[in-house]
């Protein structure tokens, strides 16, 4: 394979990886605070994608479609928190996780009924613009996907690292009792975490549908769940870990398809996740083994 093709595949892998990073951060926000995997995030990602995609096909400007996809996913995320998590917060961790699995299946069913099971396609002319970078070219949509993902990850990293809200999120994630003793309304912070998580998932959904120029109700399972692998590889609650692991998984996936065939793509991605769980369970950038601080 030529160097040019390799570079082209790298650009494709990075685009995919940028989206994986966004979804992984969406999983990570809830996982870091609650210690549960919100399985419905994969379908929030799908619903956000459908809402944005539908608007784009209807002729809405991209920023409007992106925002609408984000808000739709965020609104559903809040519903999941209120109905699927809050009443079960004192139950064993597996209980709210099963509840999010239920939401996940309901959302997929909803999308199939609303939009049908056939893929929605983006008109070809929207994908025509390409920017030449020497011998390789990058599609305008790819550039948009990578650019938007970088802006959003940077914005999230800034909020978490430098703002009062970010400190409160981290405090609740580390030790909810101590955070409450410092005046943090943990329930409200949890809602904000679900809101941010939904916004990221929705954005990722719109961006991935632009990348593939198509969307189906099954994209959540096919693509969204791979972000769990990204989260595990990067370190479950590590922002920078997701930023590293997203492109890594994206590149691994694209390289697998290019060199080994698409039939072993998922084998490589999830195999990498299992390998990390076995040899470095805290992830590439994870520090301490524990994800939850001790209770007071």
């Amino acid at each position: 394979m030529s160097g040019t093709l390799l570079l082209q595949q790298a650009i494709n892998g990075l685009t995919l990886g940028a989206v994986y990073t966004l979804i992984a951060l969406s999983f990570s926000l809830v996982m870091g605070i609650l210690g549960i995997l919100n399985l419905a995030i994969a379908e929030l990602f799908m619903i956000g994608g459908y809402v944005g995609f539908t608007l784009i096909i209807a002729g809405a400007p991209l920023p409007v479609a992106l925002l609408a996809g984000m808000l739709a996913a965020a609104a559903l995320s809040l519903v999941i928190e209120k109905i699927g998590y809050e009443p079960l917060r004192n139950a064993p961790l597996i209980t709210p996780m099963l509840s999010t699995l239920g939401f996940s299946i309901i959302l997929q069913n909803l999308a199939t009924n609303l939009w049908g099971s056939d893929p929605l396609q983006l008109p070809g002319d929207m994908l025509a613009t390409r920017i030449a970078l020497g011998e390789v070219s990058i599609g305008a949509m790819q550039l948009l996907v990578i650019g938007a993902a970088i802006v959003m990850v940077a914005a999230l990293a800034f909020v978490i690292r430098y703002t009062t809200l970010g400190r409160a999120l981290r405090a609740v994630a580390e030790n909810r009792d101590v955070a409450r003793l410092l005046g943090v309304r943990a329930d409200r912070i949890l809602l904000i975490a679900f809101l941010l998580s939904g916004l990221l998932a929705g954005a990722a959904g719109v961006l991935i549908s632009l990348h593939y120029a198509a969307i189906t109700p099954y994209i959540g399972v096919e693509t969204g769940l791979k972000a769990i692998a990204v989260m595990v590889v990067g370190g479950v609650t590590r922002t920078w870990g997701a930023l590293l692991a997203g492109p890594l998984i994206g590149l691994a996936e694209v390289a697998t398809v290019a060199y080994g065939g698409s039939q072993i793509r998922d084998f490589v991605v999830y195999g990498l996740m299992i390998l990390i769980l076995l040899v470095r369970p805290q992830g590439l950038l994870g520090g301490a083994r524990s994800d939850q601080g001790p209770r007071v």
Partner: protein, 245 residues
């Protein structure tokens, strides 16, 4: 009375831990809760701070406190430094201190208080950019107390602040607690080191198996033969000079 606790009961599921405790704290007092392990001291302060549901009543300056409302209680003026210090180890020292000002709306005064805290605890200023988990036990206790003070509480609850500290650092912590009186602070101090505690406290309550068995002025309790024998190793405080307050 600033804090009034009446008939406090706390249970962990079906197991009762505190069985009808009454206690009062006046403004500016240092009041101690002493007793052996399992006496209900920590449970009592956690209930007052709002971390545990309780029966009975707790009022602060006459206003009833809702059970389990820690966030509200901090805003009402109650801060708890929990047993084990409750340091947020994945945050820096400065971030921990900033969390102490989380509820404050007077940003400028809060920044001035933070600078003042660094003057009071220079070691925290030196380590401000480092992870709090890397501090020594004594430094973590300083950080926990400094963080609690930054919320500008009226009532400070301290749960075993000397636990796990070297004797020299434990003495420093007791001197620090005694000095809080000069700041106009009211303190409820939970401790097993009864000797140090009774030296700096105004009054004390002795708890056993979730009940108050005796209470009174700290000096008088220290002279009680049973307490002296059980908690002070038979060596009364009378011969020793007060160390603070």
């Amino acid at each position: 009375m600033m804090l009034s606790v009446r008939g406090l009961t706390v249970s962990y599921g079906p197991i009762g831990a505190v069985h009808g405790i009454d206690l009062e704290i006046g403004a500016g007092e240092i009041v101690a809760l002493i007793g052996a392990n399992g006496a209900g001291k920590t449970t009592t302060v956690k209930a007052i701070a709002g971390l545990l549901p309780f029966g009975g009543s707790v009022t602060l300056d006459g206003t009833p406190l809702r059970p389990g409302a820690a966030e509200r209680n901090l805003r009402a003026g109650i801060a708890l430094v929990p047993e084990g210090r409750g340091i947020l180890g994945r945050m820096t020292v400065e971030e921990n201190l900033l969390m102490g000002t989380y509820c404050r709306t007077d940003r400028r005064a809060a920044a001035a208080d933070l600078a003042g805290m660094y003057d009071r605890f220079p070691i925290l200023a030196d380590r401000r950019a480092g992870l709090a988990s890397l501090l020594s036990g004594g430094e973590q206790q300083m950080l926990a107390i400094a963080r609690a003070l930054l919320s500008r509480p009226r009532l400070l609850l301290l749960d075993e602040p000397s636990l796990g500290l070297a004797p020299k650092m434990a003495s420093f912590v007791f001197e620090l607690v005694a000095s809080l009186r000069a700041d106009g602070l009211t303190v409820l101090l939970v401790e097993q080191k009864a000797r140090h505690t009774l030296k700096i406290a105004d009054r004390a309550y002795l708890l056993e198996l979730g009940r108050v068995v005796t209470s009174g002025p700290a000096r008088a309790l220290a002279d009680d033969p049973v307490i002296s024998q059980t908690f002070l190793g038979g060596r009364p405080l009378a011969a020793e000079a007060p160390s603070g307050g």
